[in-house]
Symmetry: C2
Subunit: 201 residues, 2 copies
């Protein structure tokens, strides 16, 4: 044992964090040893509380500290449209682009047969039930443009075929400010396939 046991234990716990190796964990442990007591107490407490205070919204499955979450409580958002995303973080990205517009449904994953993730493993049954309960008229499917994200989008489209629900899929193409030279062929293909008319000839 190199360091006193409490330090070794802290280093061991810290080095289980993603991207934190033994060396960084040691540096962090010594930083904490020399840090202000108030800060160390705050950090420790906010870690301890995180799992108690955060739950999933029972409506949209967003992470939240109240149920229903702030977004589901927001009466100003369109009640007819659901934006379907993979993860809470994806919802945040859309929310930053269009604040206060959409309601969401967070799947917590995508269909991935290779990893044994079927529609029942993600929040698709709850989404189906919600479309009926809330009388949803439109789904914007904003899963990633990957094989799994596309499979999930198509599965949802098939599943809701018999419902009176409009379904759209977010476009994939060249990012704003991107350079065509560095874009992969599949994205170029998608950008060409999804081209828009600028002027009718």
């Amino acid at each position: 044992m190199l360091y006193p046991e409490p330090i070794e234990r802290l280093i061991e716990h810290l080095s289980k964090l993603p991207g934190i190796g033994k060396k960084t964990a040691t540096r962090l442990a010594f930083f904490l040893l020399n840090a202000r007591q108030a800060y160390v107490g705050d950090l420790s407490q906010s870690i301890a509380e995180i799992k108690d205070k955060i739950r999933l919204c029972s409506t949209c499955f967003n992470i939240t500290d109240i149920d229903p979450c702030h977004i589901c409580r927001d009466e100003k958002r369109d009640k007819n449209v659901l934006c379907v995303v993979e993860e809470p973080s994806h919802m945040m990205v859309i929310e930053q682009a269009y604040p206060g517009i959409y309601r969401y449904h967070i799947l917590h994953g995508v269909i991935n047969p290779i990893e044994g993730i079927g529609p029942e493993e993600i929040r698709i049954p709850e989404m189906k039930e919600r479309i009926i309960r809330e009388g949803i008229k439109e789904l914007i499917i904003a899963t990633n443009p990957t094989i799994e994200g596309n499979t999930t989008a198509h599965y949802i489209a098939e599943l809701t075929k018999s419902y009176q629900v409009k379904i759209s899929r977010i476009a994939s193409g060249i990012p704003i400010g991107g350079d065509i030279v560095y874009i992969d062929p599949l994205t170029i293909k998608s950008a060409l396939d999804n081209r828009r008319n600028l002027k009718e000839g």
Copy 2:
């Protein structure tokens, strides 16, 4: 506010850690949100305890959970020699090279007049008192080969001039496995000045 308040608070606390930016802090916060409760509890507790359980050894000023520390309690170590280092981590490095041999004195800094750090600001008074109390016969000064480390070494040598104490300074030179081409001129100079005879001619 992007995320629920407890997550925002955790991200804020985590991003105060050295080398952890907002993005990494967010990733760590979500990792903790999804981690096992037992691990999150352990991490939180070991952070909370670190400042309570760790103190400085009243003899050598090593960081320790008992006083005197394990090294000062170790009766097998040479009682006549003190190895003087800047920081606890420097002691660990020497201990790895020569386990169980030396007793240490940790200065917790070096003399640095520009930053207003004089001999009284580091553990030099305690070292002086200890030399007399313990009847130390030899000091090995293992401060860094920097201006401040060298100043501190010379100050200690001056200070103990009237004592019957042998004083040595660790050698600086080319690291084992190093390449002369990439070594700075001052280190080369030191390596030449400290050259050893391999064969008497």
